[in-house]
């Protein structure tokens, strides 16, 4: 079962590579779209360079912190907003602003607030926050009213309600929020790094690759980003599963 899934996933990746190869063949402009093979060679040379780990860690730490902070803040704010309707109304303009204000508009504000070093943390944070907030709030609002009534009659305290009612029912919402957010946090975080160009970040490498039109390097770093993003998502969903298992609920994990 498990090995069959592995196989399927490998096949999926192979198909994706084939699509890429085909596209590269059709476009046939190596300066624009390089073939998987070239990228693979480049990838190996990148990964074996001495400061690769430091670069990857630099970006990973920043983007992961932006994501985790936003996750925590988003859940906390959504819990507040779910409990007090007035708080929800108060938050609305802020969330709406965070959601829709283009990065171009507050990049300077961001740079002043947090400097180019930490730009990626803030930008990842700002893209993840509204996603988590909205999903969790929506989840809280669609929590089974009948179970909440039951808890009320039995005077179950908030910790119990959270553990036994909210967390299980929020599961699909948290899963989709975090599955979407991890990817977008990388997307936005690296974009922040490309703007701020902090020394020794993946964003700096991307920036250089772009400026110097070295498409192979651009693609190779992009592959690194995708792999890191997948790795982080897997790690995170593993932790989430563990946490859920801790609540003592028998598992019914919906994998994505």
């Amino acid at each position: 079962m498990k090995s069959k899934r592995r196989l399927e996933q490998a096949a999926a990746v192979l198909i994706a590579l084939a699509v890429w190869q085909a596209a590269a063949a059709i476009v046939d402009r190596p300066a624009l779209l390089v073939t998987p093979a070239v990228v693979f060679m480049k990838l190996i040379s990148i990964c074996s360079s001495p400061d690769f780990l430091r670069t990857a860690a630099f970006s990973f730490v920043r983007i992961a912190s932006g994501f985790l902070l936003a996750l925590a803040a988003g859940c906390a704010l959504a819990a507040l907003a779910g409990s007090f309707r007035l708080v929800e109304v108060l938050f609305r303009p802020f969330i709406q602003t965070i959601k829709s204000v283009p990065v171009a508009s507050f990049i300077i504000l961001c740079l002043i607030v947090i400097g180019s070093e930490g730009l990626s943390v803030l930008i990842a944070f700002l893209i993840v926050l509204p996603i988590v907030y909205t999903n969790v709030l929506q989840g809280i609002k669609s929590t089974d009213r009948k179970l909440l009534e039951m808890a009320k009659v039995f005077r179950a305290g908030l910790p119990k309600k959270i553990k036994y009612i909210y967390l299980p029912q929020l599961e699909p919402h948290i899963v989709s929020a975090s599955s979407v957010s991890v990817g977008l946090a990388w997307k936005a975080g690296i974009a922040g790094e490309v703007i701020g160009i902090p020394d020794g970040s993946i964003g700096e490498k991307l920036y250089e690759a772009k400026v110097y039109l070295s498409t192979a390097e651009l693609f190779a770093w992009t592959v690194v980003i995708i792999l890191l993003s997948i790795g982080f998502e897997k790690l995170f969903s593993f932790i989430l599963k563990r946490l859920y298992a801790l609540t003592g609920r028998s598992q019914r994990w919906i994998s994505q």
Partner: protein, 202 residues
């Protein structure tokens, strides 16, 4: 203190469900409520439990500590029977005590299985044990023995009778046998009458 319900009114839009319902539920005793489907029994319990509001009239003397068997179980699907019961009682309730209670109504050895996989009658019994084990001064039981076979039903009724000493109990039931088995007062809620008002007999 007895619970008194006076002139209770409840409307859902055009639908007048309770029209001046009045009754007394003596403290520490069991009262059964019978009445045709849709006459407002569950609505009455909801109002008494504070889950719904009345459009008129008054409910007095409902103790703070309540427990209930809801008409539709309302179990925590993903959790096992023990967790479901632990949800309503303090940390001090021992695992053994819960298992023992479950055993008494024929659920020996089932305490650590998720209730999602329980049969209908098993779920019902978990709901009953939950209501009984919760620290409460009053129990609202809405058709508590629904969906049980005769033998299990007798077992469960006996279990409830053994564990409600001194507590006020309100049972909604459709079976005169059940009502009689619990003794106590019997309130017949009349068929709904869209316009007239109605009282309650004992």
């Amino acid at each position: 203190m007895d619970i008194t319900v006076t002139g209770l009114e409840k409307r859902y839009g055009e639908n007048r469900v309770l029209t001046g319902f009045t009754a007394i539920f003596p403290a520490g005793e069991t009262t059964c409520i019978m009445g045709p489907s849709g006459c407002g029994k569950t609505t009455l319990l909801n109002i008494m439990m504070g889950l719904d509001f009345a459009d008129g009239g008054e409910v007095r003397g409902v103790p703070r500590l309540m427990s209930a068997v809801f008409q539709e179980d309302r179990l925590l699907e993903g959790f096992n029977a023990e967790s479901n019961i632990r949800f309503v009682c303090g940390k001090k309730t021992y695992r053994e005590e819960i298992a023992e209670h479950l055993e008494r109504i024929g659920l020996a050895g089932e305490h650590d299985k998720p209730v999602r996989n329980f049969s209908g009658g098993m779920r019902r019994r978990v709901a009953v044990v939950r209501a009984v084990l919760a620290k409460s001064e009053i129990l609202f039981l809405d058709e508590p023995f629904k969906g049980l076979d005769e033998k299990t039903k007798l077992l469960t009724m006996q279990y409830v009778r053994d564990n409600i000493a001194g507590r006020t109990v309100i049972i909604v039931t459709h079976s005169l046998d059940e009502a009689q088995a619990f003794g106590g007062r019997l309130i017949n809620m009349p068929v709904r009458n869209e316009t007239g008002s109605r009282g309650a007999g004992s």
